[in-house]
Amino acid sequence: MPIFPLAFTTIAILLPTLLHRWEHVGVSPHLPPKQWARGLWSVVLALILSFVAALFALSIGRGHLINVIPFAAVLVLLFPWPITRLVLIPLGWWRAAFHMAQLSGWVWRGDVSGGQLVAGAWAVLRQRIPSPSAIVWLSARRDEIEPLGAPGVLGSALLADAVGDHAVARRLMQIVADFDDDHRPPLTRYLANEWLVADAASRGLWAEVELRGRSPHRRSRATKLLGDVAARLIGYPPVPHNFALVLRWLRAPSRARTFALVWRALLEPRAEVVPEVRRPSAAPPIALEGPALLAAHSGAIALGRIPTAALHQLGRGWDQMLADPGVRSQTARRALALRAGDPDLVLERLGRQVEADLSALARAGAVPLAELEDDSKTLRRVARELRHELLDELAIMSEGLEARVRARRQLAPLDELREFLALREHYERVCELGGPELVRIAFSQIHDPLCNLAVWLWDERGENGIANAMFRWLGHEAVMAGDEQAAELQRRNVACG
């Protein structure tokens, strides 16, 4: 037997196997894994397969047509991700996509199990009706992934989307952006951005579509189109011309589906929004009185959400009504007829009820607390109560997390991430509603529990990717809250890698 084929076969089998094994168990316990070496085995394998494919192609060229079969097999092995992405996922063949993605080590920078989860979950999403058994099977594979990296989180988000839990899917997709580049294959950021653009467009949040669709990161042609359409719809500069929009549309896929949207954007006049021409605030509407006020209040509760101006109108109306001596005497007369005792008790109860209702309306409408403190006494009391309520809720969540971390009661990595995201979401809501004065207080409440959680995940559980994302977010928030000590601590934590 000639020596060359024998040596080549030996190298072709041994080298990728050795590299693959080194990636998983390490070359030595004293040598840390190198970022550039992640998925290197698949690059070496691809080079060897390219050489083999070239040999088969030459052989076919010389008339050995039987070699078409191994040539096709080598091509499949050579382009596992394009075949998964362009064939298996659109067909909804989740099991084939899951297994084929195993060969795409380089695309997922070594996190092959996470990449498999993404491929399988995406294929399930493409099914007309997502298969429940597939979701259960993939969820079980997801729970086996340790540590959970950015591809695992992305796959979990797609699974949440497949079961219709869009809010969780959205939160998980957003956290993918917080992963450090060392813990995040470039494809995960790209896919998360694409999903978030689609999600924002489907909900009509065009400002977010514009922000993400025209970001400097890698984007698909469809995302670029949606970004330009959004800019045209909301008038965000530079607003694209008709010609540029049509050109984008022609270059994008799914032209039939996007035609109506592009047409809608073309009908929109090409005008940039300039802050200087913002409409002056309208004169305060007349305060409501008596039955009209009660009717408006009941109607607002029935609607569930009202504009801020209407909330102010109600607040001013209640200020007048609760202080009106006519209302008190009328209530007193009715109390006398019914033998109901002190009418002030009823009016007090009415006041408390009104404040509770206005507080719920303010929360439902996400009205900033500063806006509630304008001119109405009732709304000022509502703002004060809401401030305490928001901080109390945050404190309860933080203390619960802190107690669990101290007791070392561990959850699955994805559940740890979910708990972090839930606390983060509440913190962001407190900051959004409370404004700058609440940011520092809220941050001081969440910093220690979340930092301890991230340190626990890093030190004892090896969940470096998730922990790093938490440190990065805490560092960013520390800067926003002006807590230099915490910012420095998080900078050191992030620098750990």
């Binding site: 689609a198 009509g204 949606l226 009717a295 569930g304 009202i306 504009p307 109901a340 109860r349």
Partner: protein
């Protein structure tokens, strides 16, 4: 455009629908005897499973009642102070068109692009 926050708590909305005057289908100026009579009649209707027993109309849509809710409503109206409080809310009667210009927040929401997920390859 108003920002979308949390959904309003269902118990706040339920408070409007579960006003004892609506539950017993009585006017706010009814007498104590009328409260007892209406309560007993509705309890009998529920017991006999007659049509019209389990549901009642309100300005906020129809509500559902059972024997417990009817007894609770009767108890509320027997107490003069609590009755006075409920009277204040029922006197307003916000039937259609009386919401005094309060716009529905959803009406201000911009239109979304429902085919976005399929256009970007996330759905078939």
């Amino acid at each position: 455009m108003i920002e979308v926050g949390e959904a309003i708590q269902p118990e706040i909305r339920a408070r409007l629908v579960d006003n004892p005057f609506y539950v017993l289908e009585l006017a706010p100026d009814c007498t104590r005897a009328e409260v007892e009579r209406a309560g007993q009649k509705l309890l009998a209707m529920i017991e006999l499973d007659l049509a019209g027993g389990p549901t009642y109309p309100t300005p906020f849509g129809s509500g559902r009642r059972d024997a417990a809710k009817i007894r609770e409503a009767m108890a509320e109206l027997r107490d003069p102070q609590r009755r006075l409080f409920h009277e204040l809310w029922v006197l307003a009667r916000p039937w259609a068109g009386e919401t005094a210009g309060l716009a529905h927040a959803d009406g201000e929401r911009e239109l979304g692009f429902s085919a976005a997920r399929s256009a970007l390859g996330w759905r078939s």
